[in-house]
């Protein structure tokens, strides 16, 4: 275990010698299993600390232990040297530990000022003093350099702004430790920059910040320190400036790296001759995607790369009938299509797998069998039920082919892990023998072993003639799996590249920089 003494960082005279928050020997059990086991963790004031680990590593359990959601079975939590016993999140807040969750935990239907003050509103003669509340809110927002109207309804603002209001609320109550849980998942580039500015402001004030994110670039940009967990145990605590990315990934994965098959990519010239299976022109679903043109060929994988908010999902949904096309033309095998519903697209052999596995994918209370058979059954219609024996046979074969575990067909699908749920969804769509499969973030939130399995599966299917659109936030993955990559920025496709001939950095450059046509051409 490598734990180093607190470094002297650049922010002047903040005392670095003693951690502000410390967890020693922490163990949290569920039944007989320990989600975290004898973990030590510490946060220093004025520092941004990142918690890294694959799924199942114990990250979220550790966070819940610090923020009062779960009690410790063993171990001690101290804040500023004094032991802290938390029985609920409100206790944690009172101690100065606040969390900004991925799903904004504020009230959209009341004003910004009220969101900041509720629970400790200023009173006058027993009544709430609204004017004072607005004044106090203004002050806090101003301290953070934010220009938000305190009287406006929270719901009238974007997610990014709501998040900043959540931080303002945290500050207004004597903040010592701020936990940011996947704060940048829904933000665009400018919004991330603003968030980071506010984080640096908080650092100046000596707040200890826990930054939880799977975006490695961001972790390296904003964090000073990183703690790695694996299988519930502490691997180590490191300074980001002293740890190479590749080493970090190794520490997160441990021995679980699996072999990745290299794809037999057909030569680029083969592609030009064939007629595209699907051809889309001028696809627009304002404001997220505009004027997109793509061509999908049989047996080829088209990767879609771009930041969150660049229109990846919207493009996929527009092309598969999930969302309404505002304008644009879709041609499948030479005939123009009007995909007004997913049903219409499925009729043409085009299937979409949503990035929201839980809300738009798995039907939790139905069994694994019923989930797998669902699309086929929907296709056959209400009056042609597939005979139960046939259903079982079909589901069984897919469970075996994709390695779905546990292999219990009658188990409610909601009880499976994320990776296995994704496999069930794949089985459901593959059972239809589609011609084009659109996979939106199929490996998100899945452990590395399952990730590789799915990537290999996609390659195999393409080799067997299936066309795939593969969308992912992880550029390495996209390049590895795809033949060509469409790069999106701000709702437009800026270029479509040959995966074999490009690098992650080149794609990143295309994705991140503000538009200037000559410079783009110079790059490609």
């Amino acid at each position: 275990m490598v734990v180093e003494p607190g470094p002297r960082l650049d922010n002047g005279d903040v005392d670095q010698a003693r951690p502000l928050l410390e967890l020693t020997g922490a163990t949290v059990r569920f039944g007989a299993d320990a989600a975290i086991d004898s973990v030590d963790f510490r946060m220093f004031p004025g520092e941004v600390h990142s918690l890294m680990g694959e799924n199942g590593a114990g990250k979220s359990t550790l966070i819940k232990a610090i923020t009062g959601v779960l009690p410790l079975n063993e171990g001690v939590l101290t804040l500023d040297g004094e032991e802290l016993r938390l029985s609920n999140p409100v206790d944690a807040q009172r101690a100065g530990i606040s969390t900004v969750y991925q799903e904004i935990e504020l009230l959209p239907n009341v004003s910004v000022a009220e969101n900041i003050a509720l629970g400790r509103e200023p009173r006058r003669l027993g009544m709430i003093d609204a004017k004072e509340m607005r004044r106090q809110a203004s002050r806090v927002l101003h301290e953070l350099g934010l220009d938000i109207d305190p009287a406006s309804l929270l719901g009238s603002h974007s997610v990014a702004v709501q998040q900043l209001v959540a931080i303002a609320r945290a500050i207004s109550a004597d903040l010592r430790v701020l936990v940011l849980d996947e704060p940048t998942s829904s933000l665009d580039v400018d919004e991330v920059a603003e968030l980071f500015r506010v984080i640096r402001e908080l650092k100046q004030r000596g707040v200890a910040i826990l930054f939880v994110s799977h975006f490695l670039d961001q972790v390296y940009e904003i964090c000073d320190r990183v703690t790695v967990l694996r299988d519930g145990k502490l691997v180590g605590e490191y300074l980001t400036r002293e740890l190479l990315r590749i080493d970090l990934v190794h520490k997160m994965l441990g021995h679980k790296e699996a072999e990745l098959k290299e794809r037999n990519r057909p030569a680029a010239s083969d592609i030009e001759d064939a007629e595209p299976l699907l051809s889309a022109r001028g696809v627009t679903h304002a404001p997220r995607i505009r004027d997109a043109n793509i061509d999908i060929y049989e047996g080829r994988v088209l990767g879609v790369a771009g930041l969150l908010g660049s229109g990846r999902t919207e493009l996929a949904r527009a092309v598969t009938g999930v969302d309404h096309l505002h304008t644009g033309v879709i041609v499948v095998s030479g005939a123009q299509q009007d995909f007004t519903s997913p049903r219409k697209a499925l009729n043409k052999g085009i299937a979409y797998s949503s990035e929201n596995r839980r809300t738009e994918g798995i039907v939790a209370e139905l069994s694994v069998l019923e989930n797998i058979v669902l699309a086929v059954q929907a296709d056959r219609g209400i009056w042609h039920r597939m005979p139960p024996a046939r259903q079982r046979e079909l589901a069984q074969s897919w469970v075996e082919a994709l390695g779905i575990r546990p292999a219990d067909l009658d188990r409610p699908a909601g009880t499976l892990s994320g990776g296995n749920q994704q496999k069930v969804l794949l089985a459901r769509l593959l059972a239809l023998a589609p011609r084009l499969l659109v996979l939106d973030e199929p490996t998100r939130g899945i452990d590395i072993g399952a990730k590789v399995e799915i990537q290999n599966l996609v390659s195999e299917l393409a080799d067997n003639g299936l066309s795939v659109i593969f969308i992912s936030a992880e550029l390495e993955e996209v390049l590895r799996v795809s033949d060509r990559v469409a790069v999106l920025r701000d709702g437009r496709i800026v270029d479509t590249l040959d995966a074999a001939d490009t690098t992650v950095d080149a794609v990143l450059a295309l994705v991140a920089r503000p538009s200037s046509d000559e410079e783009d051409e110079a790059l490609t």
Partner: protein, 341 residues
């Protein structure tokens, strides 16, 4: 990012910016404005249609007094609906407290004891519902259904037929009139208006009221903010029950008798009035004053129907259609916002 959704200084004085700022602050008032618009239209329309005979001090005063019980019910219902709940028991509770009051008075119990007693009765039914909803995770729909059954049955247990009230104190509430130049009001009217004022005040200036909005906005968040969810959720149903009890008192004073068959379907009228008044059934948005407007819309329609000599059933039909219109428009607005987002 600070420039992303606020305008630069030079633009702050334009109309567009002012409109945007207004909407971002007052968007939840729009449905209530619509209700007021409808009320005005109704009045104007009726005035024209009935050739100047509608907007008279007498008719307006009667509007309040005829609908005093409904007004009180609507205030209680507003509290419940803003927490995203619903209370189907209020009509039956109103009948139960009404007949129970009549019986107590008829048995010689003094009004000073009988009235608080029936109000407590209403509160207890409300508490039952609130406890089921909060502590046993029962859906408000089902829980208040139980309350409806209970209260309706109890009304008939008290008496299978109507009981006349001869108690002076109670009758005084309705028969006394204070008039000034054609306008008049009775104590029942004052009670109803008082309930509205107190309700509006509590909603906007007390932590309890703000907690109600918080629960409707996002219950999970409200809990994390340290607000006392449990007590508040039970309390809104108790308040609804007390309001129903009060409505029972007002109705009994109005008709001079208690009748166990009263109030069948009245909870629907209350819900309709509240929704028309701009409160969203999904919770988190709405105003007590808006519900008052909704009750007046209901009452005005009823008055016009009466004047026209048409069937009583037309009132419910028209209110139903109006409700439908509101709901469809609300849905269209939400759908447009969803599509843009």
């Amino acid at each position: 990012m600070t420039t992303l959704d606020t305008a630069s200084v030079g633009q702050t004085n334009t109309l567009a910016y002012k409109y945007h700022a207004f909407m971002s602050r007052r968007a939840s008032l729009m449905p209530t404005f619509a209700a007021i618009a409808i009320l005005v239209l109704l009045f104007v329309g009726a005035e024209i249609f009935l050739r100047g005979d509608f907007i008279t001090p007498r008719n307006i005063s009667a509007l309040l007094l005829d609908n005093a019980p409904l007004l009180v019910l609507a205030v209680g219902m507003t509290f419940v609906i803003i927490t995203a709940g619903i209370d189907l028991s209020v009509g039956s509770v109103m009948a139960f407290t009404g007949i129970w009051l009549a019986k107590l008075l008829g048995d010689g119990v003094s009004a000073a004891i009988a009235i608080p007693l029936v109000l407590v009765g209403g509160a207890l039914v409300g508490m039952l519902i609130g406890v089921l909803v909060q502590y046993f995770d029962v859906q408000p729909f089902i829980a208040s259904l139980a309350g409806l059954f209970l209260a309706r049955g109890l009304a008939y247990v008290v008496s299978l037929s109507s009981i006349k009230v001869e108690n002076d104190a109670v009758l005084w509430l309705q028969s006394t009139r204070w008039s000034a130049g054609g306008w008049y009001i009775t104590p029942t009217g004052i009670i109803a208006l008082l309930v509205v004022v107190i309700g509006a005040f509590v909603m906007h200036f007390t932590r309890f009221g703000r907690t109600i909005y918080a629960i409707g906005g996002n219950e999970q968040s409200a809990r994390l903010m340290g607000l006392n969810i449990a007590r508040t959720k039970v309390a809104v149903y108790v308040i609804s029950g007390v309001c129903a009890g009060l409505a029972g008192l007002l109705l009994t004073a109005y008709s001079g008798a208690g009748y166990p068959r009263n109030g069948i379907g009245t909870e629907l009228d209350a819900i309709a009035a509240v929704v028309i008044g701009g409160t969203l059934l999904t919770g988190g948005r709405g105003y007590v004053l808006g519900s008052m407007v909704g009750v007046f819309v209901f009452g005005a329609i009823n008055t016009v129907i009466n004047f026209m000599g048409a069937e009583q059933s037309w009132t419910r039909i028209i209110v139903g259609l109006l409700l439908l219109l509101f709901i469809v428009v609300q849905r269209a607005i939400v759908a447009r916002a969803e599509r843009r987002g």
